[in-house]
């Protein structure tokens, strides 16, 4: 099976702030959300995940507080 990078269907870009454990996610529609108190290892796992959107939905979205910021 051949595996190659494809553009994610709903996550455009992600970033992480260690000091405040804040994960910032930009979605394909342009909206930006911050997730609070996300441990760094989870962020690293997300980077590795083959589908960012599915990972976010399964492990972060319903588990950590968030706020839309842009």
């Amino acid at each position: 099976m051949e595996r190659y990078p494809v553009t994610s269907s709903n996550v455009a870009s992600i970033g992480y702030d260690e000091g405040s454990e804040t994960l910032e996610v930009e979605f394909v529609d342009g909206s930006i959300y911050q997730y609070y108190g996300v441990p760094q290892n989870l962020y690293e796992q997300m980077i590795q995940a083959s589908s960012k959107g599915r990972f976010l939905h399964a492990y972060i979205k319903n588990a950590y507080p968030y706020s839309r910021v842009g």
């Binding site: 870009s13 910032e24 930009e26 507080p65």
Partner: protein
Amino acid sequence: MLSQDPTYLGTVASVSGSSLSVHLVQSVASGLSVIEGRAYKIGQVGSFVRIPQGYQDLFGVVSGVGAKAVPESIKNSVFDTGRWMQVQLVGEAIGGFFERGISQYPNVGDSVHITTESGLVRIYGAHDKGHITIGTLSSAESIPAKVALDELITRHSAVLGSTGSGKSTAIASLLRSITTSESAESSFPSARVLLLDIHGEYSTALNDVASVFSVDPQPGEHKLLIPYWALDTSDFLNFLTGGVDGSRETAFTDKIFDLKVNSHKAYIFAGVDESSITVDTPLPFSLKKLWYELIDFEIATFEGPDRDQPTRQSDGDASKLIPPIYKPHAMGAKGPFINQQAYGIRRQLNLFRSKLVDRRYDFLLHPGPWEPDLDGKSKEDLDSLLAGWLGGQKPITIIDLSGVPSTVLERLVGSILKIVYESLFWSREKSEGGIERPLLVVLEEAHRYLSNDGTSLASETVRKIAKEGRKYGVGAMVISQRPSEIDETILSQCGTFFALRLSNPTDRSRVQGILPDGLTSLLDLLPVLRTGEAIIMGEAAKLPMRCRITLPCKEHQPRSSDPKVSQQWSLPRRKEGYERVVASWRAQRPRAVIRELRIDRKKVTDISNEE
């Protein structure tokens, strides 16, 4: 021999006014007739019957069936079969052409027939240009329901229905059929629609045909800004100062007038003659300067033998809203003395200042490129504002007002409508004006700003549009779930009604009052209409019709913003931090955060799992 004809229903037994009693024949006892391979239910309330009169056919609507429809005189007769039908005459067809109104009455004993699909096509099948298809008839799904666009826009319309009856889907579908009409004889590339979207439901549904303005814009949307200086001064002053009267109001208006004249002198505006400037002429002026000059006059103190030497200690700063400082006045003969000419408007000026610093009003009091500097120079003029609202690339402009505090909603709606109406009114002889390119204003959730006791700017402007908009090419479409709470003048000026499911009795009686007596029975259906089903009546529809509005495809349906309670309540509890809540509240911004973080985001890619 008549009973051989499968469409035969019965005979006319009595005629009074436009109402007929029809005695049904035994042969229709089953309640179902099969004609040309299609089954027709007999005696459905709201269905049509045909009464052939030789050269022409009369058409009527069934308004009642059964015991209640028995004529008074034979009510107690033992011979009565109980199979009676009450019919309201509505129109006649000569040849293939249907017309409302009748030229002659049927006679007792005339036969009454079911209207088959081909008959319905005669009634509803408008072939003229300028009709748009919005759905299909409920009684015959192969027949498109059409409304006349001219009457729909110019005579105004109202869409009424309870929550969940499919109002917003109906609107989305209607607007879509106007803007994306494919048929060759009716496409409308110059359509112009302004939609006031109170809940932010439509931006996703219509994104391909609409440009969106929002107080809190998403990517791809424009920021909604309203230059205060284009508004009517007295109403604006009321808002700014909490109400002023008499000489106090004059203090404000005189100053505004001076500032407007100075602005015109400095930057000459086309069409303005200096001698004809009034306080309401839409010319830019600086609110900060207005505030500064008024407060300066109020707090000034004087000294000296003639009490005419100002004691100003520091100049303050108009752009930062810092008032000048004077020596405090003192009692006795030495002074300093207070300004005897002061108007006593310090309370109003304080309120004025607090409005200027309130972020909620930024869209109005600090309208970005339309905010004049202290000299009254505005970077952009009104033309670019109107070009955005009325002359966008796309036929529909959505003004998304979700996220506007309800205290200012009404004023905001009023302001927008006022600017739009005034500009189209005065440009009526230009190709950009309302007559050459008419505008449809869609007013969502109208009961929130067009209330019964309306003396507000919004009510006044919509009332004006309802009364005289027809002449200047501005049509209104009022949408509401509480018709009984809407200003009566406005509702009574609406020529076309789309009544969706309505269960509240007061709301229903409001709608029922609109139809001629004979047909009110049609509206008894209102509480039992299916979702997305509407009774359309009035100017744009030849006859009241019950139709099912075409659903737009899934991604073009308005998003219902109801929280999914059962789904959300079933989630495990997340950690919560109410300091974030307070931060947003204080900032008056849903997307505010406690600390602004600079987070570098990296573009991400997924790994494909397919071969």
